[in-house]
Symmetry: C3
Subunit: 336 residues, 3 copies
Amino acid sequence: MKLSVAEIAEKIGQTFEGDGGVEISKVATLANADNGSISFLSNPAYLKEVEHSNAAVIIMREQDKDAANSPAVIISDNPYLSYALTAQLLYPASAPSAGIHATAVIDSKAEIDPDASIGPNVVVEAGANIARGVVIGAGSYVGKDVKVGDNTRVEPNVTLLDGVVLGARNIIHSGAVLGADGFGFANDKGSWVKIPQVGRVIVGDDVEIGACTTIDRGAIGDTRIGNGVKLDNHIQIGHNVTIGEHTAMAACVGIAGSAKIGAYCNIAGDVGIAGHLTIADGTTLTGKSMVTHSLKKGVYSSGMPVQETGEWRKNAVRLRRLNELFKRVKKLEKNS
Amino acid sequence: MKLSVAEIAEKIGQTFEGDGGVEISKVATLANADNGSISFLSNPAYLKEVEHSNAAVIIMREQDKDAANSPAVIISDNPYLSYALTAQLLYPASAPSAGIHATAVIDSKAEIDPDASIGPNVVVEAGANIARGVVIGAGSYVGKDVKVGDNTRVEPNVTLLDGVVLGARNIIHSGAVLGADGFGFANDKGSWVKIPQVGRVIVGDDVEIGACTTIDRGAIGDTRIGNGVKLDNHIQIGHNVTIGEHTAMAACVGIAGSAKIGAYCNIAGDVGIAGHLTIADGTTLTGKSMVTHSLKKGVYSSGMPVQETGEWRKNAVRLRRLNELFKRVKKLEKNS
Amino acid sequence: MKLSVAEIAEKIGQTFEGDGGVEISKVATLANADNGSISFLSNPAYLKEVEHSNAAVIIMREQDKDAANSPAVIISDNPYLSYALTAQLLYPASAPSAGIHATAVIDSKAEIDPDASIGPNVVVEAGANIARGVVIGAGSYVGKDVKVGDNTRVEPNVTLLDGVVLGARNIIHSGAVLGADGFGFANDKGSWVKIPQVGRVIVGDDVEIGACTTIDRGAIGDTRIGNGVKLDNHIQIGHNVTIGEHTAMAACVGIAGSAKIGAYCNIAGDVGIAGHLTIADGTTLTGKSMVTHSLKKGVYSSGMPVQETGEWRKNAVRLRRLNELFKRVKKLEKNS
């Protein structure tokens, strides 16, 4: 795909300065760009790279534009967003042709829109409903009564178990498993008795779910993922969790059962959230945070950043007696 | 499935009070129940919800029963267990019909009980033995010499590699990988030389293994999972680990090679256990615990719960000098 | 496979003492060995087991050899390495016969060496190139333009997405996903706009990638895994990460986007490394370490080992006021 600077600026709703006729075929970092590349400056820390970049055009804020030596600049208040929109233009998602591959196994009671694309070795069970524009990648499994909304893309080797409901324009990455049983057992004198998990997984529109991420079905009611939620890889969402709209979670986060995660939250990698908690809308959690109580809106952290192992060992041993140290200090204060 | 209150009480071995003829078709929470629902009160914190619940029948302890306004109550010393058994009655696992799907690829030297169900695109290699009542879900792989015991259910897209042995009545969820090579390398002047992993994975009866959970084969001997063990999603079990009977682990736990985990342990989410340790029977570990030495029976924890990021940052910096603080306090004590 | 002690010693380039004609058919631990077994002593802690071992031959250091009562010993400066090489002799990887299984779906524009083995239900897309000696396991997906180098082994149910490049002699374990989109979004007034991920994943030679490990494609440039890197299970490698040669990572490690991990690093289980950091060559990180800044060569740790929960709770509460404690101690020091 090739577009001129002027075409790009028009399509993303921004203005340009310089030579609007330069043809752009790819995105690149400031450092690696060549004369067919578009790049961007979002973080001012990279301002010094702008001057030496060979990019044909750079997307920048008005106040930064004088630093550029490129044939053109596109002016944007949010260069990273403008970059995202530009990249979507230059790299349109490849759409496989509609139709059902000869090796797919489709139950006669499944409904598949003629405009959907069903890849090789896909299995679609009875009662499933696959809407127009949907792509189901090779080897994926679509269980009974699963609904897949318009233009949702399911990558190869995804597992959508019985009753999962996906909205429109989702992207579900390879290895993801939606609708496996939640972890529910009653204890009977030491041994565990399974509690049938009879709820579903309900996913809104414009959701992205990462590779090898798992979302368990509800125990009684449903597990719910709001519109616009973005989940990275290796995330575990327990049964009956709800995640509010436009919340983003980085990789390896684990959310235990029945937790309520608000909308517009930012949850960094490897955060763990205990069950039955409520996290307020707009909350930010930094990486590896351990959340054992409900949180009001705010920015929270925990964990001990690394230090040299010898030092860490001494501190870790002391940490086991921190409570005692507080008491000793109190005693000193009393006696001083 | 519809059952009367009297039928349910009889089948789960409990007594009821009130109208035994009410027909029940589903389970529900106290808050969402309607007049066809059975609910339960296990945690006294929800006692106030009992009064306003529309459930047709509530499973409760004798001492709580007066709080109910429902047409019937079922009396149980362990309402959660009675609820589990009731849900099993109302939601029997759907059993696909026996037989081998036309698209499955079965080696001529595999043995498959005529009463087993082998789904679409399943691959079964030479020497595998699949017992009666087993269900192998679509797209799953059953390697050479794998044994799958009576009535075990393997969900779609599971991978059982060569020599894995599964007992009876297991449930293996989608994305699980059993029998991949353990992580074993010898160092040769900086580069790594692979150590063939020649042990197996041996799983007992009544085990449940979560989605995307991995259990590595032994390096020399076998990796062993005891009867009644329940593993949630995204768990990593290293080579030559043994897990005692009826131990339960929540999601994202990692157990390094050759660790011996006792029976009847409860291990919460994201716990990490170093290699070659022994964890005693009946041990409990809370979420995100970091275990670097063997443990006697007990309840253990570690980790720093979240606090507001500004406060955390100050504390985390100080933590790096905790050992020094102890010395300063000691000096103050000496001089006081 | 049976080999005499003399044959083994010769093939692994070491000397033996005692009866070179004893036939060896398997490896075993010192404790479990019988008269057809080879065992080894690497860690001196197990020296006392040597005396009572029934092994036919033990690989040991010169200085330890007198402890052995076995018919033969093989002398090696690095017994663990010699054991690895011996096990490779006794357990050669089983090579399925070359050829393409009848159920595989191969695009007419894919190139597959006649000496490669393509398993049942494998899908290979246009432009893919699969070299000689490669094994692609059942159910695996090989996307467009994927390159798989000589003698690389892809286990069942692996997903290699468009453009992934694998070098020679790799082993990719089941459930691994290479080339899924990195986690990149621009924020537009609270909602997230996808940034197309247009880079690739480039993997060197002699790399091993564990079960359910995910390596995301680059956002603009490529994600790069160096020669000889060994990754355990459940690892997450974010977009544009680079990993230097011969670095090893244990299970459940998460590396955020654009981090640069050096060569010859040892990274233990569940370590988390934030984005855009640089970790120097030869760095060691212990389990569950939390890395929030770049590191010079060294050995680093963080995290709080478990203690009894009652004690932990008191300490964890105090930890929230550690900064205050430092101030109190400073005040005491001033006044003393």
